[in-house]
Symmetry: none
Subunit: 540 residues, 2 copies
């Protein structure tokens, strides 16, 4: 049975840029466009040429793409023809194969925002779209506030679509601009639009996540007959974001009935790069990736409940809706007091530690984990610290070096210009191969500002580890999380540190103490030890 | 027209606890239960009594609630009767009004996970539910993997439901345990279940967000006839989380057709507390609240696009799907102070600072808040620090004393018994009434253990403030939260300190710095200043 083609339209670089706190550079836009092209979307909306220097520079420098590069703009302004509108001209000057222009379809907005008559708005749409077509471009019409407009005046909203269609628009995109329309309503209205004579294969859907249903509303629109979906990577976008293509793509490819009815431009191989792509965008935005993201999140295939974890060991299909490898993600069976011995061996195996089922060390490791968790430690995410703890019980934890003592001082006082400034200084004393090494570092960074006591300690610890020094040179602290928790009856501080190295490894370690500096030092030390096991091996 | 009652079942304390990295203490569970009860959910699932000490302690100490407190467990184990199952007995011993037990409805799981025959599983369900009913409890049956089971063998899945129904279960909850079922499929299967004779008003829905459609799937189930929705606050839960009640509640109350067809137990007034409730949970979890959350996120009513922002000023309905005040959220228009000023005056009045509408200080305060927030400060909860900032702009911030400098040292080394121990020592130099005072304190508590550098600093700061000393004697630091956040382009540490005094006041202050000790000291200092304004007044 032949499947129908569904088209994906990515607007990460335009609507995604409306996210609070997001401001892409031209270089970042180019990097994202290349990744989208490799993924296999059909359209890449690059921005609004002429609206700001970044977007203009993007269109000036973007190399040829397999996807149709699209410039965004709006219908011509009142009181001039489309051919004489300089804003529209700037959009066309970007020279893209497709141009998408947004226009009004809701009578309230025509009157309130544009301040023109309903007929004049129809003429505006017609003239603007016809102008794009006359310039040889593929024309898309973004029908702003379409669902609200249709509810208010269905006949007029449909007239707006017909005006664009008759003027030659390839796609009419039904936009739920305010994000308030729920999936069942989207389904009903799309069904009525198609029944009114607008062909489904000329319709697109553009939803927002203001009710946490943008993905479902896009699917509902597809079920009702639209054949283009607009969305963004990781659901970036104004307010609560746009429909998340990172969730939609695997659903369309892997889930019935979609996978059997439709075909999209993404290959199974490209789908395996989806998790990496999602994380890359977070890297560019300097955001910590959300663990709960559908398909690609770090927790998406994490099985914490003891009953689930033991069933997963028998057969992954018991508690997984897809194989995580299909989207480039992986299964994770965390340790916690709710999980039993059944998943311990699996977790050890993942760390390269094969242990026989009957080994009494298993019981000791579980006891050690439980005792540690009672003190405030948590091994859900700190898998590197878990490995070190297990190695200690298995007698497989090498002693590369010994920390004899450390001291860190934070001082705040007035500088010469009478301003309060602070500075931290750390001394760490280690013994490596029988030799005592004293290292001292301060917390000042290149810009002259104080990065605090943990930074100073981290630098002093990594300053001279003798023959192990080369192995830790490419280590980098990438995240640092602190929380106050309960250790027995006292409040203690738990620090989780994420580290990275030149080989692309990323690992998490934990430290706990009533003293926050101490907790941080413990996590730092564990990070170094884990790295040395990887690069030096078990026998130093 | 009378509306039909829909029931809300919250499982934040049970399924929500399956979130990777989440481990509630008993005290936190009690706090969340009280908040859920105030919100107006119908059922609060508190955990699995007997499964771990925290859950057992919760049921032992939880006070009476308006909502039906519910204990979670599973059907009896094979080879014994429900009456002789000690695991089930522990669940019943919690003494809750309702008990929810999970059981199998998917033939594959009956055979793979339980290893029993299909008929024996029906008998297991019947005996277990009947036992709950015989003990006088309201019985709920969580039909695990129901949708997968129904797809594999609809007749058997229905038989499982009927077994529970006939044994007296009040609710049969259709669980999409693996989270892979899409909304249209949920709608179809629920419709068929009801057509097969199971009454919709005995059915509940329990979805997971593995395809980012848990909220929509819950709505689809309601449309098909179920009358109970299970979910969690902020969508906590195993893997990608459960259906998010924080999104579902406003949709059910504010959006057609739901608001016209259904009634839930949440009042319009309680709905106004929803944003605060969502943030409270993040506070407990020490998570940075997600700005993009539907309804309650910090960006949910933020209008970044220039065209949108100017239209919003003319009429908020142009780009907002609901009034943000209905859910206790606020509009955020980055480029304009117009919207901010009335909120600001209300907030100042709450701190006892009456300011005239035209006062230019209002603009200065808004600017100061904006500048501070860009550095990483947050005044959402730190209302005492907000008051101090406003007082500075209003010229109403008394200078009780001046901190000239401080120094804190953390040292870790071996003690006489060859054990590693740490000790912190702090020196604080203040000037009060022209007199310089040096105070030194260490971090050792009564038990001889080190409480860390912030403790030492706090003690040194509060040791001698001259004639103000009596006013701060009854101050106590009750909570301390640390978060790594973004200050401009750099990661900085934000510390929030909660303080309490003998008069029962409780206040929060904030400090931000790349140096965690510095950030803590700033928050400590603000706490002392706020207290002095309360007890000494504005003119020292």
């Amino acid at each position: 049975m032949s499947r129908e083609r569904l088209y994906l339209y990515d607007t990460t670089l335009r609507d995604g840029q409306q996210t609070q706190g997001v401001q892409f550079s031209t270089a970042e836009k180019l990097k994202i466009a290349a990744a989208l092209d490799a993924l296999g979307v059909d359209y890449i909306e690059g921005g609004w040429p002429g609206a700001n220097p970044t977007d203009s520079a993007f269109f000036d420098t973007v190399p040829a793409t397999r996807a149709t590069l699209t410039a965004f703009g709006m219908t011509k302004r009142a009181g001039r023809s489309a051919a004489n509108d300089d804003v529209l001209a700037a959009v066309l000057n970007a020279g893209t194969g497709a141009v998408c222009i947004v226009g009004k379809t809701h009578e309230f907005h025509v009157e309130t925002a544009l301040g023109i008559g309903l007929d004049e708005n129809l003429e505006t749409i017609r003239d603007s779209v016809a102008h794009l077509v006359a310039q040889g471009r593929e024309a898309l019409f973004d029908a702003e506030h379409f669902f609200d407009g249709y509810r208010a005046n269905p006949a007029y909203a449909l007239d707006c679509l017909r005006a664009a269609l008759e003027a030659g628009a390839r796609w009419l995109v039904l936009c739920d601009t305010n994000g308030g329309t729920l999936p069942a309503e989207v389904h009903r209205i799309v069904t009525e639009v198609i029944a009114a004579g607008i062909p489904g294969n000329r319709l697109g859907i553009h939803t927002h996540n203001d009710t946490e249903t943008a993905v479902a509303a896009s699917l509902a629109a597809v079920e009702a007959g639209v054949r283009q979906i607009q969305g963004t990577l990781n659901g970036l976008g104004e307010r609560c974001g746009n429909a998340n293509l990172v969730s939609l793509i695997p659903t369309l490819m892997l889930k019935p009935p979609y996978r059997d009815q439709f075909e999209i431009g993404v290959t199974a191989e490209a789908l395996e790069g989806l998790t990496r792509l999602s994380r890359m965008l977070d890297d560019i935005l300097n955001r910590v990736p959300l663990k709960q993201l559908a398909y690609v999140g770090g927790s998406a295939f994490a099985h914490k409940a003891g009953l689930h974890a033991s069933a997963i060991l028998k057969n992954p299909a018991t508690y997984e809706h897809i194989d995580p490898a299909l989207v480039g993600n992986r299964r994770f069976v965390p340790m916690s007091n709710q999980a039993g011995q059944s998943n311990l061996r699996r977790r050890l195996a993942e760390a390269g530690l094969e242990v026989d089922p009957g080994d009494p060390a298993l019981g000791r490791i579980l006891e050690a984990v439980k005792a540690r968790e009672a003190e405030g430690y948590s091994y859900d995410t700190a898998e590197a610290s878990f490995e070190l703890l297990a190695r200690a019980e298995l007698g497989r934890l090498p002693e590369f070096f010994e920390v004899k003592r450390y001291r860190v001082t934070v001082e705040r006082r007035k500088n010469k210009r009478n301003r309060m400034v602070s500075l931290s200084e750390a001394v760490v004393v280690v013994k490596v191969d029988g030799e005592k090494k004293l290292s001292v570092s301060e917390s000042m960074d290149e810009t002259g500002s104080d990065r605090g006591p943990v930074n100073a300690l981290s630098k002093a610890l990594a300053k001279d580890l003798g023959r192990y020094q080369t192995a830790i040179e490419d280590m980098r602290l990438v995240d640092f999380k602190v929380r106050i928790t309960q250790g027995g009856t006292e409040a203690v501080t738990r620090v989780i540190i994420d580290s990275e190295d030149g080989a692309g490894r990323r690992w998490s370690t934990v430290g706990v103490s009533a003293n926050i500096v101490d907790a941080s030092f413990e996590a730092l030390l564990e990070a170094v030890r884990w790295k040395l096991i990887r690069d030096v091996g078990e026998t130093p």
